[in-house]
């Protein structure tokens, strides 16, 4: 996997002859990669390979995995729906207090997840500020339901989306938006047909972060949505319980989660992550 070898690879519309790779970049990059991936090696070594398959066949593992994937994906969709417009607002509309709002967006990141879960309970719980009203008016209760898992995950993961998309928006050349305006495009049309396609790599990056974070989310979920098999027990919660009883199983479950997420992310086509 040494990046050096890669130089032989073809670069579609690339430079005639690539210059030497600068070691001052490649060295820290490889170091960084090793740092991120090596602990995985640790897990792989500790994993109880002989019993692995047997464990995987257990139905509750698949159940938890399915729940994790569904919830993380729905949560990512929710984040995209709400977060991309929020990023646009922060990047393109100059309103007073914008800097403060931008900083507030990071709140769920800084809040320890368990406290985030408590905060969600305080607001959306049955006795919470909004939860009370939701239950009285619509008969909806969110805690301890699958919807609650999605909300907890979305709450924790949305800042990643918002902040990366805002970064992408600020990096994008606004003159294309001007050109679109001269063609009679409303701000919404501009956003949809010009801005969004141009910042797609940033949105995809944000969505990847968001999805991965949602997939791994534990603290807020267990606090807000509880830990009921089938409805709210996602893989990280299953891992937590497995740690209580058999640590090896916890490693297996983690590896399963990792493998699935790596497969999903690796199959993202390069097209999605590249500028037009």
């Amino acid at each position: 996997m040494g990046p050096r070898r890669g130089l032989t690879g073809r670069r579609p519309a690339g430079r005639a002859a690539s210059g030497r790779l600068p070691w001052v970049l490649v060295l820290p990059a490889v170091l960084g990669l090793v740092f991120l991936v090596l602990p995985l090696a640790g897990l792989l070594i500790r994993a109880p390979w002989p019993t692995l398959l047997a464990r995987l066949a257990e139905p509750h593992v698949l159940e938890a995995l399915r729940l994790s994937l569904v919830c993380a994906t729905v949560a990512t969709a929710v984040c995209l729906l709400l977060g991309v417009p929020l990023a646009w607002l922060l990047a393109r509309v100059d309103f007073p207090g914008r800097r403060l709002v931008r900083a507030l967006v990071t709140v769920p990141l800084v809040l320890p997840p368990v406290v985030g879960g408590v905060a969600l309970l305080l607001v959306l719980g049955r006795r919470g500020l909004v939860g009370q009203w939701l239950e009285a008016t619509f008969g909806i209760t969110l805690p301890f339901t699958t919807a609650g898992v999605i909300i907890a995950e979305a709450f924790v993961a949305m800042p990643f989306l918002v902040i990366s998309v805002e970064g992408a928006l600020r990096g994008a050349d606004q003159r294309f938006e001007e050109a679109a305006a001269t063609l009679g495009a409303s701000r919404w049309t501009i956003f949809r047909r010009v801005t969004l396609p141009l910042i797609m790599p940033g949105v995809v990056a944000g969505a990847v972060l968001c999805w991965a974070r949602a997939l791994g989310e534990f603290g807020a979920t267990i606090t807000f949505a509880g830990n009921f098999p089938g409805t709210t027990r996602t893989m990280p919660l299953a891992v937590y319980l497995a740690l209580e009883t058999e640590p090896e199983a916890a490693i297996v479950l983690s590896l399963v989660l990792l493998a699935v997420s790596v497969i999903v992310l690796a199959s993202l086509r390069d097209r999605w992550v590249s500028a037009p």
């Binding site: 003159r175 294309f176 001007e178 050109a179 679109a180 305006a181 001269t182 063609l183 009679g184 495009a185 409303s186 701000r187 049309t189 501009i190 047909r193 010009v194 396609p197 141009l198 500028a275 037009p276």
Partner: protein
């Protein structure tokens, strides 16, 4: 008057202040040196640059209160700004789509326009797969596709090759002839300006220095920039009868004038002599050769002296006279070839 307005844009170290009045169907060319404010004026008309003061009305309706997307404009940018993620066809279809035209219909319109600018074969190409000139033509088609009331063209032909330029210019001319809206065109090419525009407006340092019909401007330039644009030697002096005093030199012309005046003559009217000639030309002075360069079929000689001037002579004459930079020489212009008019 269909377009009427006063445009004021203030920037540190630059101020644009123009009064524009353009009739329906009229094509106005904005000319001026680099950095004169032409692009800024177009951007203000388009609503892309905020005016610090002033107002614009189009067909009697105030324009400056509208956002860019609400103005009935079409604009070609100096650097095209084609949407990189859309094909040439979709770039052109973008405007009609925004106006609510159905997709198939918009694409048909776009295809027809691409055909007209000679790019039917590149409809599916992404902007980065187009050459500079191809991109510029797509940008032109894109601006025309919205059927604007006000067409703003920022050097729309600059990247075209001579051949294509001729064709696109004719195409554009036909289009503009049928067009009853207002067109404001920025160009550096005098020929484009002459061919396409009904009226020239010359801007320097953000202000209008001359305007009028192309022929009028070409015959009676009022600034150095315009004079060079139309290829004349131009001087400002004080007239007294048929003589105009320019610095130390008295230039004779056939017109009678008094007071501040311009006097102009074409470089081809300048004759050069190694020794003082003894003939009819009334205007004669001693000059120093500052530079010599090919200029089309002729040779252009830069002259220094009491007045700076260009002289166009044939290569044969250069050889005969054995001209070299630095040399002292006599220059003359017949009074009938000089043209004097009030400043």
């Amino acid at each position: 008057m269909s377009l009427r307005g006063r445009l004021i844009v203030t920037r540190p170290a630059f101020r644009l202040d123009l009064t524009l009045e353009v009739a329906p169907g009229e094509v106005v060319a904005l000319l001026g040196p680099n950095g004169a404010g032409k692009t800024t004026a177009l951007r203000a008309l388009a609503g892309l640059t905020a005016m610090s003061e002033g107002q614009i009305s189009l067909d009697g309706q105030p324009l400056h209160v509208l956002a860019a997307e609400q103005r009935p404009i079409g604009m070609v940018f100096q650097d095209y700004l084609l949407f990189p993620h859309l094909s040439a066809l979709d770039n052109v279809a973008f405007g009609p789509r925004c106006q609510g035209v159905a997709k198939a219909e918009a694409r048909r319109t776009a295809a027809a326009l691409l055909e007209r600018v000679g790019l039917a074969g590149h409809a599916a190409a992404k902007p980065r797969q187009l050459s500079g000139g191809q991109a510029q033509r797509v940008a032109l088609a894109r601006a025309l596709a919205v059927r604007p009331r006000l067409l703003l063209l920022d050097e729309p032909l600059a990247a075209l090759d001579a051949h294509t330029r001729l064709e696109i210019r004719s195409e554009l001319r036909r289009h503009l002839a049928d067009f009853d809206g207002v067109t404001v065109l920025v160009t550096h090419d005098p020929l484009d300006a002459m061919v396409l525009a009904d009226r020239l407006i010359v801007i320097e340092h953000g202000a209008i220095v001359q305007q009028g019909a192309p022929g009028e401007v070409a015959r009676r330039p009022r600034t150095d920039y315009v004079a060079r644009l139309v290829g004349l030697n131009l001087y400002r002096g004080v007239a007294d009868g048929t003589g105009v005093k320019v610095g130390e030199l008295l230039l004779h012309s056939s017109e009678h004038l008094d007071g501040a005046a311009f006097v102009a003559f074409p470089p081809a009217a300048v004759a050069l002599y190694r020794t003082r000639p003894d003939g009819s030309p009334r205007n004669l002075w001693r000059a120093r050769i500052d530079g010599i360069e090919r200029h089309g079929d002729n040779v252009r000689v830069h002259l220094d002296g009491p007045i700076a001037a260009f002289a166009d002579i044939t290569p044969a004459a250069v050889a005969d006279l054995d001209l070299t930079p630095g040399q002292q020489i006599w220059a003359s212009v017949k009074a009938t070839e000089t043209h004097a008019y009030p400043a």
